[in-house]
Amino acid sequence: MNATVIIIFLVIVAMTLVITYYAAKRTNSTSDFYTAGGGLTGWQNGMAIAGDYLSAASFLGIAGSIALFGFDGFLFSIGYLVAYLVVLFIVAEPLRNLGKYTLADMINARFNAKKVRGAAALSSITIVVFYMIAQLVGAGALIQLLFGIDYLWAVLLVGVMMTIYVLFGGMTATSWVQIIKAVLLMVGTVILSFLVLQRFDFSILEMFAQVKTATPHGEAFLNPGVKYTIPLDTISLMLALVLGTAGLPHILMRFFTVRDAKTARSSVMWATWIVGIFYVMTIFLGFGAAAFVGSEKIISTNAAGNMAAPLLAQALGGDILMSFISAVAFATILAVVAGLVLTGASAFAHDIYGQIIKKGKASEREQMLAARYASVGVSVFSILLAIFAQNLNVAFLVSLAFCIAASANLPVIIYTIFWKKFNTTGAISAILTGLISALVLVSISPSVMNPEAGAAIITGTPIFPLTNPAIVSIPLGFIGGLVGTLLSKESDIKKYAEVKVRANTGGFRQL
């Protein structure tokens, strides 16, 4: 680890701590803690959404994947981006108009039943835990590589930082860490893209032509089929990505940080531009790494290709640029895990403690305490899990999180807003069917079961053939909600009229 890395790294840490200090002064109520008082502007929240969404897996993972597998490495990005149309058209505005702090609040605006809230909290917590393990294990491995410190210390470092942000600065600190990270990430990616394009005389055609000769895959590199060879598996995964984003609790929570549906909308617009432009630039990073670093060197540093971007930075801009890119990757990790801690804490402290156990009658002070205890609890639990999961292959957990979000959360959101007959039984069965089917199918899939000893968590022949069960579990989530609704005679037309009016007009908000 050289001096530049340490300085840039310390500057970022110091900057986020200063933010947390000022945020802590402004965090006096539960509304401040969970939603930054609902006072973020469209561009601020848009940047924060991008900062929450573009994980290290997006930055280092996709750049590396493109460098090693060409078009197939880029494929996911299409799903990640188009997903924002689902968020914008279906989810963002009703969520802002109906909810307060969590997804469960929004569904409970219609049903007001503890069981529904419990089920929604359970699926949110499951998604957060899986996403978090993947992020922390990935972060530990990355920081080990980037800064040359032990896995254990790396996980502890990230863990302690995220706890400090959330515990003291709540959503205000988390949002600003995410905004700063989004800026740093975009600056870093623009610099790298510019340097790559310069080497190709700013000609995209030249870039494609040269990359083709630089990789061992040759022409196949520029077309689909290098990495993903099982059609149904690819389609299932792509379905999880496009429908999952609109059900990810940490993304949904961001919509409560703005004052109204109009601002929620404009934050999606900002996020779509930032995320989309970023994904376009990962192509330059990936192709650049393939051409100027070479797949042999990328693989020898890290088999998954995660070091492609930092190595490219070193090849094009020397140690200083590499240090900067490494620091950006570190900031990226911090911003994402902080958002996850806060989301997990809100499900425990607001949904389970505040609304279910205390029946919504907890005092402001009790709620704040619960929120802070839950934040520490979620952090400690995730750090412990990440330490034990060090040697497990957990990369599939991110796509599993998208799959659960699409199967357990999206059906219930859509039914709640659009279906007149939908009822309490339907809501519970939609969430549980989606959640359980996704979990069960994944646990018997090739992601968990592999005949080769040590390649996956269980040694054995997979029973379910697809690595991602979305193509089965999403329809099951919808069917679960349908069957549950029809089995119960309960229906409340008046309540639906209320939800429909409030979701579509933004009026009659309770704050």
């Binding site: 914008l88 279906i90 496009v242 989309g276 037309i493 429909k500 007009t505 009659f508 908000r509």
Partner: protein, 138 residues
């Protein structure tokens, strides 16, 4: 959940309803008493129905369009090679289609932002018709 609504309506009544009480048997009268607004009446009002119709007319076809094109892309690249034909130089039609999906996303977001302003206005009008201004509820 219904209780906080009643509370906000009570607040609303305090801030606004008092001046309207003398109007006699108007909508605001019932609010002044702290009653939940008649959502069934709002839902079946011409203005709200028109809003829902306009929203549907935009959202249903566009959602089918973007999800359809997205799935079509995935099916084509998974089951056939036709997009691997050359577009220009070493760039195949796969990239062209992929970028069309990016462009589609940005275009639909922009178009929706414009449309949604109209929806906002219609929603505002509906709320006003029922003597409810959402600005006051913040």
């Amino acid at each position: 959940m219904s209780k906080p609504i009643a509370e906000t309506n009570a607040e609303l009544a305090r801030s606004k309803g008092s001046s309207k009480v003398k109007d006699g048997n108007t909508v605001s009268d019932s609010r002044a008493a702290g009653h939940v607004p008649d959502f069934l009446a709002i839902e079946s009002s011409a203005g709200f129905k028109e809003l829902m119709k306009k929203k549907k007319a935009f959202l249903v076809p566009t959602t089918i369009l973007f999800l359809g094109l997205y799935l079509l892309f995935n099916f084509i690249i998974s089951y056939s090679n036709i997009l691997e034909a050359t577009f220009i130089g070493d760039i195949s039609w796969v990239w062209v289609f992929a970028f069309s999906l990016f462009a589609m996303t940005w275009i639909l977001v922009t178009v929706y932002m414009k449309r949604a302003e109209k929806f906002d206005k219609m929603a505002q009008d509906t709320l006003k018709e029922f003597n409810y201004d959402k600005e006051e509820n913040r």
